[in-house]
Amino acid sequence: MNEPQTLTFNVGPHHSAAIGPFRIKVETDGEMVLAGEPDVGYLHRGIEKVAERMSWTGFMPYTDRVDYLSAIHCNLAYALAVESLAGIAVPPRASCIRVLAGELNRIGSHLLSLGHLAQQLGAGTALLYSLRDREKINNLFEMLCGARLTYSYVRIGGVAADVTEGFIEKTYEFLEYLLPKLKEYHDLLSNNRIFMGRLANVGIVTQAMAVDCGLTGPTLRAAGMKFDVRKNAAYCGYQKFDFNVPTGNGEVGSVGDAFDRYIVRMREIDQAVSIIKQALDALPEGAFSTPLPRLFKAPKGEAYAAVESPRGLFGVYVCSSGEKNPERVRFRTPSFPVLNLFPDILKNVPVSDVATIIGSLDIMVSEVDR
């Protein structure tokens, strides 16, 4: 008797399906995947350890690198944690600018994610379209803070600088530009029969699975659960903004499939556009930052703050012994729990769907490994 033989593949570490080096050991029988086992650590830089040797303020540029596609949110979570530890009040103008920058960053990240997913399905053209629009966001950020990817714009006590001259007009212009382009994406992808067929009923994450694994963000909302840090534990005055939390409802397949995750991100872009408009309309006057002492020392104690990054709940825990550097900084990143899904989600799926599933989960490896 011959034992049935299986074939083991290495998806990655360098595979276009994941943003960053990341390996999945996939066991297949013909076209069917029997098991998938993620292997991480290729991008580990020891950022949390680095924090222990840095000054409180000097660590800020490192937080950019935790998730370089949503650097503002990483900055923000760290700043919020330190501010709550040290009891620093943030001027309302700074809060509003933080919301503005964060939502712009969210649009950029979601655009890249949708382009990346489309590329996994062989629609490389959609990726270039999304990069074209993300480029405009990068230009806006360059105008705002001089950097295009790793902004370090949010600082403890406020933001690095006030909005530059012309930034507000340019942002309005960008929003006018973006809305017709979003329709283009829907024509090109969302309403495309092939695209729907590739994503419908693929990689279903049920609400129970999502909660068990600790998922947050669009992946959890696509599973039908209305959880958003901006609503459930509002920060930066998000309670003043009027926006919806889109959830998946299984339009073309079942709730929590890859299409739901995609469409939830698309709808979040719409919501982000509305939030940015509200923030621009009601940008308060005043200072953009609270000055810190020359040598800033957070008082002894610990604090935790969470923000809604494009990938979900991004939390930072800081612990201080009253010195000029943190005693411990710990990031709770939204992509890491996604890896818990893999043993369940990569079971009895065709090989073709592996790339689709990884692409639709929007895993950011730099934040998994940090």
């Binding site: 074939l7 083991t8 593949f9 595979h15 276009s16 399906a17 297949t28 013909g30 076209e31 489309a118 590329q119 996994q120 399905l121 062989g122 629609a123 490389g124 053209t125 959609a126 270039l128 379209y129 074209r132 090109l188 992808l189 495309n192 092939i194 695209f195 067929g197 590739r198 065709p350 090989v351 073709s352 769907d353 592996v354 790339a355 692409g359």
Partner: protein, 364 residues
Amino acid sequence: MNAELSTISPMAAYVGSFMETAMPAWGLILVATTIHWFCLVVAPVMLMAYLDRKLGADIQMRIGPNRVSSYGVFQSAADTIKLFFKEDSGPEAQESWLFRWGTVAAIVCVFLALGTIPMAEAWALSNPDSGIVMVLAALCFSNLCVFWAAYSARSQWSVLSSFRVLAMVTAYVVPIAIALVPPVLIAGSPNLENIVRAQGGMPWKWAMFHNPATLLSWATMFLGLQIWQGRAPFDHSHAPGEIAGGYTAEYSGLRSGLLTFLEYASLLLGCAFIVTVYMGGWQTGINLESTGRAANIFELIFFWLKISGLVFVSIWIRWSLPGLRIDQIVNLSWRILVPIGLFASAVTAVWLVVARARGGGDIL
């Protein structure tokens, strides 16, 4: 001798008609083959590779090749020269002659099929009695060669992609074979030359517009050929995102260039084949008697214009649609294309019987 030669190789006979002194038949065939390969196959394939890159770049809002000569027209030639000098490295399986020559064999299949297609009146390199079967065999066999090459590479992704290549063969051959029935019924012959002669130059005299059902079978065949060409959105056998390029990943240097060549030669064959059987082939609809032997050149130009239109559509499809999953392709072919093809064949048969009973029946 010439009469005999023109039945075997019309193009060699045409070449012979320019010769002052008599040449042996094999010499004429050799000359005709050389002309055919370099002028009618390799040059257009190079041009199509350039067009694909340039149009694709345009669709993706890029500039595309623009360094080699004006607008980068000689980019394909420059790439070919570069590939000649690259190291021919590969997996251990390079020892296997199937791996080394599989893609070459696939190209030979495509060349053989292209040789049977009349590119102008009496201008096919070879004229077998049932050219349609010859082309169909080449369509199957070329992918069988790719399967050998992919399977013998002995790397995981290659082996997986080799299975997909085989699955694809079952997906496209049947719809294409069924879609070939209406033109054969209309012409009453499986010979490609006769099929073209049964049609006219004007669109309403093409087999494609013979009756409403032939339009459907034309679409069936066009899709079937798209699947055969294995270009996106039907590139699941070597999709870069899904299976890391499949068998294409194992080739380097000139052999990888051959794969690219195979892709465009397949595109050329697919478009040339469907133009021949459904879209009037080299027929121009203009009386070219006064131009003598130069008539062939005009017919060739018409033939190329029709092909260019289809190539443009293929490039457009290739750069705008997401790829299909393998089960979607097989579903498309067996549940949609095959029934439509059978329906179209039946309708055409009934149409012809009724029309011939009423004294008509030729092209409308």
